[in-house]
């Protein structure tokens, strides 16, 4: 798993010490006697096949995305997964600078996903989640012609847990970019031209959001694959989870499945839309087991949104209120006095939320949250601006 990395870093040291003016070559570190060298095993990444390269996925961090054999056309990670892969859609999504996202789930042959009521589904070892980000030239247009492939992120469920691997697209090929990258982009959004630097997360940054802490141990975990976020129609118009069940991909499906409303869903209540949005955009950190546990703010879909812990009249322990000097995460009836939309609408590192993953303000969402807060009963919680 880390072998290839280890070799690489060793190599780095050797190169550096070779040119770094170290003249103590004689002083070789005393290593324990080693068994005679074996011929290096052929890397599973080198296998050529038109199928998913399960062995490589399990054992190696391949340099090139195509080595995993996930897509029929390795240069097109937005469609046509190889056998055992399928596209899936979420009801409401994390905002990533208007990037289009193409999500695929790959399950090892003969295995199944276990349904969970509120948490991410349980995936067997061998499962792979693939998400490709493409930035449009115009936020109103999507589809391959209008977009530029930026990155593909893998979450691979290996023997010892989930591993996150970011791949950066360069031409026809995506290469492993563990340190992440910064990509300049220009986009038309409504009547403006947005020029910004899109940030491809480094491997440890992936973990910032994708971690859950249980008894002091943090483990990487998927975020989006929860019942309430998957309970919608799929690309063919079928009920997505029903299809999974019908295809034997899912072990069971209860009668009643909760659903997080889409941000744009005018038919749903403001509260339903706001709660869905805050769940997928915030609750991976803002939960007791999440990265932002110390904030005390809990924004999960199943939290009671009328409570202190959901931000109602809650002072944030780790934020000074910004230049506006705001006091409470949510002041019911007063979006302008509420920290939550304030931080959503800022870009400076000090103020912005989420702290990583966006360089733009998601105006529609800010607008929704503002309307939702303004519509709240001002007597709820009892704080005033």
């Amino acid at each position: 798993m880390r072998t290839s990395l280890k070799l690489k870093s060793l190599l780095l040291v050797l190169i550096l010490s070779g040119c770094g003016g170290s003249n103590e070559q004689a002083n070789v570190p005393i290593l324990p006697p080693s068994p005679p060298p074996e011929p290096p095993p052929a890397s599973a990444c080198e296998a050529t096949t038109s199928e998913v390269n399960w062995t490589a996925l399990q054992t190696e961090n391949c340099e090139r995305l195509s080595q995993y054999g996930l897509f029929v056309d390795p240069a097109q990670p937005t469609r046509d997964p190889n056998t055992n892969g399928r596209l899936y859609l979420l009801t409401t999504a994390l905002f990533s600078d208007y990037a289009s996202k193409y999500r695929f789930l790959f399950l090892p042959p003969g295995s199944q996903v276990n349904y969970e009521e509120q948490e991410a589904f349980s995936f067997p070892v061998g499962s792979v989640l693939v998400k490709t980000f493409a930035l449009p030239q115009d936020s109103a247009l999507s589809g391959a012609h209008n977009e530029r492939l930026i990155e593909t992120r893998l979450l691979i469920h290996r023997e010892n847990g989930w591993v996150a691997l970011p791949y950066l697209w360069e031409g026809e090929e995506a290469r492993l970019a563990l340190a992440g990258a910064r990509v300049d982009h220009q986009m038309t959004h409504r009547d403006q031209t947005l020029t910004f630097t899109y940030e491809v997360p480094s491997q440890p940054q992936c973990k910032l959001c994708h971690q859950l802490n249980e008894a002091g141990v943090t483990r990487i975990s998927p975020i989006g694959l929860k019942a309430h976020l998957l309970n919608r129609s799929d690309a063919t118009g079928q009920a997505q989870l029903e299809s999974w069940l019908g295809d034997g991909w899912l072990d069971r499906l209860p009668e009643a499945i909760p659903t997080a409303a889409a941000l744009e869903d005018e038919a749903a209540s403001l509260t339903a839309r706001a709660k869905g949005y805050l769940d997928i955009n915030c609750a991976h950190c803002h939960r007791a087991e999440g990265f932002a546990s110390i904030s005390g703010l809990r924004l999960g879909f199943f939290q009671d949104h009328t409570q202190f812990s959901y931000g109602i009249c809650k002072q944030p322990p780790g934020y000074d209120g910004g230049a506006a000097g705001l006091d409470y995460d949510i002041v019911p009836g007063h979006s302008g006095a509420s920290i939550l939309p304030y931080r959503m609408s800022h870009l400076e590192a000090k103020d912005r939320m989420p702290p990583i993953g966006r360089a733009l303000v998601h105006e529609k969402a800010v607008d929704l949250i503002n309307r939702w807060i303004d519509a709240m009963d001002p007597n709820l919680g009892g704080c005033t601006p």
């Binding site: 690489k8 209120g321 910004g322 702290p355």
Partner: protein, 897 residues
């Protein structure tokens, strides 16, 4: 007492290191004149062989991140010399790829505090360096500037050393500066030393929601708060300088709601002066944000309990020198906002937070030049009240409001009827009648003391403060409290703390608290070092009262031996000598073991574990170094140390005593000791450093985690399998177990002693078998297995067992666990969890000892490689030979060639 020259020296050292801004301020009162004995040209950091040198070419952030992501245990990552502008946060995760294997003990270092400079003014990220989920990380010798949020932040990390760092926001002090310079949060075992922090819009050094903390020899200058210990436990802050901040040093306990609340914090030997800078934090009305700190404040205690402020020099403060206050001064709307935000059912008080400080002890501070121009937007009424009534503002001010509310019972559900605010419970019982909750301020020189509220206040008159002033009459806070313990930081096998690894005097305390709860001396059985008046030996009986009630300064105080200068024979009060069939190797030292059981009481037999000894038992082990390993016990053997394991009311306590050079006494030496030793071994003269463990190290081996996850102190050797052999008593040779049973020291011994599964005899020089004449190569496989299992048990299995300190390794080496069927638990074909392994892959490769990590680490004497990690400086050739033979003979396995 505060040692001025020492502080001056440390400040001078920082200046010599070239910390920018240091000493350049005209209004600093400190005279910086290095004493002539101090070294004038400190050398820069050195880099170990194999250090990963980061290239300065290309994108520096990418170069560093690459090394962070690929880091393996024990890597040293060296950042280049020069000034760099990383374009993003430098994020380090101890387990970046999530495979559960941690990169432990990684060092991130530069070329010096003013030589490797990371300027984050153009970074897209909020923090400069951010470390999470790490184990034992060191960051040193570099500077982090102009980060948007925090200079260096660490989260969910156990074992942190931040050393010789600077975090600076230069230029005008304003709210746009980052919040914290050095910022560990939700961490354990944190050492911060010799750093310089300047310009933070919140706190320069901020330790939050953490425990086991030492902050020493730092300079915090021109921040809103110089140093802040927030919602943290077991912190020692000493030998620091806090100058030019809004407030010098803060001990805060804030209502956060995530279960972390503070207590047991000591602030001592610090120089806190001229903290008169206007408050430049962002003004939120978060009631206890740092924006409330009144400019011109030396030390503030907010809500935290068990705080000791002593031997500091606190001078030149416009407002006040020390204040202790409840949260009710920060949130004065007690019946409204306070109740709503904190006191509702399921709220933050239910979560464990308390608003009222208790047991605060302010003593021996040198306070001067206080209160000439009091100000602060939070306290204009208080200032006006004092100036109106008394014409002065006190140097030490206690609000007393929390105490008054607690004593009034207004918001306390005592289970009875008639709460005025039914259902609202602050969980603040009245202050204890014995005074143990009191706030005390004594022996602080000629200072004024103020107390806003005193006594009981009824609901009606809470709005009417008493505004009391003590002008030296001794009318207010005139009491004292028991000293808090020394707080230590455990980092691998190193222990840091006042008087533990430095030579700071006046650390006070007495008891020591470090990781794994209360460590070593006491398990809280006694307070401090107990009743020292018990430490007087007389007559010819063991001083049981002293054993149970005091950590005595000398071994002789316990009167364990007829001749106090000879702990190798003639125990008093029926103490019984014993030997083990196979023993822990300790650099060829001879060991003299005695068990003393309280009169008429017996240990309970246990087939596999250490016998269950009654309270009052003491196990005594003396270590002596022979001149030649072939002739132990003879003339010329030198007494080194005597270790006691005492079974007190609440558990076992370990006390190490070190014999003086002239062997006239053995003195209690909690921090341990190291001295040079030499001996002849197989014709070769060996010279080495012999280490006496410190009290924390005792527990490293002597701990077992019980079913509730609590690590408890436990003896190791006195188990049936090691005691089932003959001993030559004065009364004649007898089986030890039988002798104990016959003399009423042991109950439950099986009748058939011969049937007890016994670890075979194995001597220091490898003696075994009949008449100790066995030859390994001629022994049967079964004999070798049994010998090796016995050796691994007594040398390794106290840690390498499921309940031991090294349980995470998965190695299980108890004697009773059969090899067959448990091959992997013994290390066979098992990759080590936390060891790089050099070029070796498996703990044991059957048939090939040279390819086996176990064999390699036993033979090694290099820190990082050697096993056991502590307790030996030499390798045990006979033991290594035994394991070599054993591995050779193990049945071939998958990893064998």
């Amino acid at each position: 007492m505060f040692q001025k020259h020492k502080l001056a020296a440390s400040v001078a050292l920082l200046c010599a290191l070239g910390v920018s801004g240091c000493g350049s301020d005209d209004d600093t009162a400190l005279v910086i004149t290095p004493p002539p004995t101090e070294p004038t040209a400190p050398t820069g950091p050195t880099f170990p062989e194999g250090a990963i040198m980061i290239s300065a070419e290309g994108n520096i952030a990418e170069n560093i991140l690459e090394a962070f992501i690929n880091a393996q245990s024990n890597d040293v990552i060296v950042l280049p010399e020069g000034t760099f502008k990383p374009d993003r946060t430098l994020l380090f995760d101890g387990d970046a790829d999530g495979d559960g294997v941690f990169a432990k003990n990684v060092t991130i270092m530069g070329h010096g505090q003013d030589k490797t400079i990371l300027d984050f003014s153009e970074s897209a990220g909020g923090d400069g360096i951010f470390v999470q989920n790490a184990m034992n990380i060191t960051i040193q010798d570099l500077q982090v500037n102009e980060a948007a949020n925090n200079g260096i932040k660490l989260k969910n990390t156990n074992g942190i050393i931040l050393r010789r760092l600077s975090t600076i926001w230069d230029g005008e002090l304003n709210a746009d500066n980052g919040a914290y310079g050095l910022y560990p949060v939700e961490c354990e075992n944190i050492l911060i030393e010799d750093t310089y922090v300047r310009g933070s819009a919140d706190a320069g050094i901020y330790v939050g929601q953490s425990k086991y903390i030492v902050v020493r020899r730092n300079v915090a200058k021109e921040n809103v708060a110089g140093i802040e210990i927030e919602n943290s436990q077991y912190a020692d802050v000493y030998d620091n300088e806090a100058v030019g901040n809004t407030g010098g040093i803060l001990v805060f306990d804030l209502p956060i709601g995530n279960g972390y609340y503070g207590r047991s914090v000591r602030i001592f030997n610090n120089h806190v002066h001229g903290n008169n800078t206007p408050n430049f934090a962002n003004a939120s009305s978060n009631p206890a944000g740092v924006h409330i700190v009144p400019p011109g404040t030396g030390v503030i205690i907010l809500s935290t309990r068990d705080v000791e402020i002593f031997d500091n020099v606190i001078e030149d403060h416009d407002t006040l020198s020390i204040t202790a206050t409840s949260f009710f001064i920060a949130e004065q709307d007690i019946e409204g906002a306070f109740v709503m935000n904190y006191a509702l059912p399921g709220g933050i008080i239910d979560d464990g937070w308390r608003a009222v400080p208790r047991n605060i002890h302010i003593h021996g501070n040198q306070i001067s030049d206080s209160g000439s121009a009091p100000n602060g937007k939070l306290i204009p009424d208080i200032i006006a009240a004092y100036q109106g009534l008394h014409g002065v503002f006190p140097a030490i001010l206690y609000d007393g409001l929390g105490e008054a509310i607690a004593n009034s019972g207004l918001f306390f559900d005592n289970g009875g009827e008639g709460m005025p605010y039914a259902g609202v419970d602050f969980k603040e019982p009245p202050f204890a009648a014995d005074g143990s909750d009191n706030l005390c301020a004594i022996d602080n020189g000629d200072v004024t003391i103020g107390q806003l509220y005193a006594g009981n206040h009824s609901a009606a008159d809470l709005g009417t403060p008493d505004v009391l002033l003590d002008n030296g009459e001794g009318t207010l806070m005139n009491c004292s409290q028991i000293s808090l313990p020394v707080h230590t930081v455990t980092f691998g096998d190193q222990v840091f703390g006042c008087g533990i690894d430095d030579d700071v005097e006046g650390c006070d305390g007495g008891n020591t608290v470090g990781d794994s709860g209360e460590i070593g001396d006491g398990e809280a059985s006694i307070i401090g070092d107990g009743d020292q008046s018990l430490c007087v030996a007389s007559g010819n009986s063991v001083n049981l009262d002293a054993l149970l009630g005091a950590n005595c300064p000398t071994l002789a105080d316990y009167n364990l031996f007829a001749d106090a200068l000879d702990p190798t024979q003639n125990p008093n009060s029926g103490g019984v000598p014993y030997d083990l069939t196979s023993a822990l190797f300790t650099d060829y030292s001879s060991k003299y073991r005695f068990a003393f059981l309280p009169d008429g009481q017996a240990a309970q037999y246990n087939a596999d574990e250490t016998f269950d000894f009654p309270v009052g038992t003491v196990l005594v082990k003396t270590f002596a170094m022979p001149e030649d390993s072939a002739m132990p016990g003879t003339e010329g053997e030198e007494l080194l140390e005597t270790r006691l394991l005492i079974h007190r009311q609440n558990g076992w306590t370990a006390l190490p005593y070190v014999w003086s050079a002239d062997k006239s006494e053995a003195k209690l030496t909690k921090p341990g000791s190291v001295f040079e030793q030499s001996l002849m071994h197989q014709g070769e003269a060996l010279t080495f450093d012999y280490s006496v463990p410190n009290v924390n190290q005792c527990k490293q081996c002597h701990q077992l985690t019980d079913s509730e996850g609590v690590a408890r102190f436990a003896p190791i050797g006195p188990k049936a399998r090691f005691l089932n052999s003959d001993y030559a008593y004065a009364s004649g040779t007898a089986n030890q177990l039988q002798h104990w049973a016959d003399n009423g020291l042991l109950t439950g011994l099986p009748t058939d002693v011969a049937a007890i599964n016994t670890a075979p005899n194995f001597g220091l020089l490898g003696e075994f078998g009949a008449d100790e004449m066995g030859v390994l190569s001629e022994a049967t496989d079964a004999e070798v297995m049994s010998l090796a299992k016995g050796y691994l048990d007594i040398n390794c299995a106290h840690c390498h067992r499921p309940e031991g300190n090294a349980s995470n390794t998965g190695l299980k080496l108890e004697y009773w666990r059969p090899y067959a069927g448990n091959e992997q638990a013994h290390g066979t074909c098992k990759a080590p969890i936390a060891y790089g392994g050099g070029s070796l892959s498996h703990d044991i490769v059957p048939g090939d000892p040279e390819a086996s990590i176990m064999h390699f680490r036993m033979a090694s004497t290099e820190a990082g490689d050697m096993m056991p990690e502590i307790g030996r400086a030499l390798s045990h050739d006979a033991g290594v030979a035994l394991i070599n033979e054993w591995i050779k003979r193990l049945p071939s396995a998958a990893c064998s060639q």
